[in-house]
Amino acid sequence: MIWVDTLVQGILLGGLYALFAAGLSLVFGIMRVVNLAHGDLIVMAAYLILVLVTALNLSPFVALLLAAPLMFGVGWLLQQMVLNRTVGADVLPPLLVTFGLSVVIQNALLEGFNADSRRIPAGSLEIASFSVGPVTIGVMPALTFATAILVTLALQLIFYRTALGRAFRATSDDPDTASLMGIRPGNIFAVATGLGMVVAAIAALYLGMRANFDPTIGPARLIYAFEAVIIGGMGSLWGTLIGGIVIGVAQTMGAAINPEWQILSGHLAFLVILLVRPRGLFPAGGR
């Protein structure tokens, strides 16, 4: 029975990783660009929420409502001022610029908040749980998982059911032709990155409420997110959710065997899937 419990906890943990990855998957789907600073931007959003919660004495969920538009602005400006200059055929500039950004954000956070680990206080939610048969489920992990599904659903709807989504898809397919139709690819990219940062803020809320964080944990979270995106198949939003679940389950299963193996078994699961399904479980193009 302990395996059922491990499996369920793993699936729920996967929800958190899917949240880390959703913004990344969205941005990659539209721009074919990966943002190496994504993990650090999530950590930055977690600090932003923490500051709002402590300074204004808000509930974390209300703080998210303030943080989300702020993060949208951060993403929009970042894309307009910096990243749009790097979009093109060459993969090197965006990689190196976002890598530099990652180092800058990490150290700026260290300077501003020191290296102590923090947590976003969530009151009684932190320890609340309920039982389903033999399995005890924490309210917080369940909430995270439900949010991951909602976020994926919302992104999917935006992508395929709105004018904005049509612009996203058009720009992704062919930016030159899209611009003939009155779309400015630069603006579309900026909105996409802004949206990615809104998702990052949501991920940050759960990251900060569920566990301690400090300025340096971004890159490790970024790796899980990337693994989820690649496992799911690049550009597939639902695939990313499944990818997150695969990593989460592998990690909790590994940890159940030997606590030292938690992280390692997540990475190994990723490598195994890379061997058998190099294009991921649900590659785009099959949709």
Binding site: V91, F99, G100, E111, P219, L264, H267, L275
Partner: protein, 348 residues
């Protein structure tokens, strides 16, 4: 019309002479330089070696890796495992470093070469993390906390005794001299080797692949094979450098040997700031990196922020780096690898 393909320029032999004099002065340094100067130069030479190999990988091969620390770590553990488990002299242990890096490169290539472009970068990072976590499980060389190089292994390092006799230095200083010479030899061999490689057909093939992959493939270039070769060469080079760095260090731990900041982030900034895709760029970059570190190291986090900002600014406004600014204005190259077509009117 007659034509010939020319690499280099009229003053190439002057440059060669200057380079030779510089190398000789560096080689003779232990006889008149201070120990701290040698330690600084050891650091500069090993970082420059890593930078040259990363540049070969990313600048020439188009393979942006964020996982070179895997090979540095493998090389470091190669020397330590050889000395501790099998009693191999640390200098000979560098061969174990190279071998360890070679094996890891071939194994990891199976995985990372399934990914393209940006995802290749992530793939290299993941396998490097797997390597770090796996080496942390190896209890015989200290597990997660790491271990030190045994005293006798350090004392018996090849060449130390001879240096003690010739220079009259104490054992610890003599070991520094041996490491210094090894680092100098490594960086000279690295730059010389890459220069040689770039002037051969390999260099032409790499340039062709970078400039137009389809056209390169259509004239029969096997891009995968060449990229794999570049990946393996860079891995072995980083492995030897890693073995040397930690041999000099005397202590190894998974977190220090597989540090993404120390062995990849710094290296990337060195190459980008100096000028990616050139042999001269990393040399300029490492000098700037060393100066910045000497000036700002006390400031800790600010130092890294400055480095990050500088990297971003260079990438946005001078993507060919500082050396690109110099050579773009003057057309001058220390290590000419560009091929120029010279046309001559037939005289008859």
């Amino acid at each position: 019309m007659r034509y010939r393909v020319q690499t280099g320029h009229g003053s190439s032999w002057v440059v060669a002479l200057v380079v030779l004099v510089i190398v000789i002065v560096f080689a003779a340094l232990p006889f008149f330089g201070s120990r701290s100067l040698m330690q600084d130069l050891f650091f500069v030479f090993t970082m420059l070696t890593l930078a040259q190999f990363w540049n070969l990988l990313a600048g020439y091969g188009g393979l942006v890796s964020v996982g070179q620390q895997m090979f540095v770590g493998a090389g470091a553990y190669g020397v330590f495992a050889a000395a501790i488990l099998w009693g191999i002299n640390p200098v000979a242990g560098l061969a174990v470093s190279a071998l360890a890096a070679l094996v890891l490169a071939l194994v990891s290539a199976v995985f990372v070469f399934r990914l393209n472009d940006a995802y290749f970068a992530i793939g290299t990072w993941v396998v490097a993390e797997v390597a770090r976590l796996s080496f942390a499980q190896w209890k015989a060389v200290g597990g997660g906390t790491g271990t030190s190089l045994p005293r006798e292994a350090r004392r018996n390092m090849w060449g130390t005794e001879w240096v003690e006799e010739v220079t009259g230095l104490r054992a610890a200083a003599a070991m520094d001299v041996v490491s210094y010479w090894l680092a100098l030899g490594l960086v000279v061999a690295t730059i010389g080797g890459i220069y040689w490689l770039m002037r051969r057909r390999t260099g032409l093939a790499l340039a062709a692949m970078r400039d137009n992959p389809q056209a390169a493939a259509s004239v029969g270039l096997d891009a995968r094979r060449i990229k794999l070769a570049v990946y393996v060469i860079s891995a072995v080079g980083a492995g030897i450098a890693g073995g040397l760095i930690f041999m000099q260090n005397g202590r190894v731990s998974p977190d220090s040997a597989f540090s993404v900041i120390d062995w990849t982030a710094y290296v990337i900034f060195i190459v980008v700031i100096g000028g990616i895709g050139t042999i001269e760029g990393p040399i300029i970059g490492v000098i700037i990196f060393f100066l910045l570190q000497s000036l700002l190291a006390d400031l800790g986090t600010w130092y890294l922020m400055v480095l990050g900002f500088l990297g971003i600014l260079v990438m946005l406004f001078a993507p060919r780096g500082l050396w690109g600014l110099i050579s773009g204005r003057t057309g001058f190259a220390l290590f000419p690898i560009q091929r120029r077509l010279k046309l001559k009117e037939r005289e008859d």
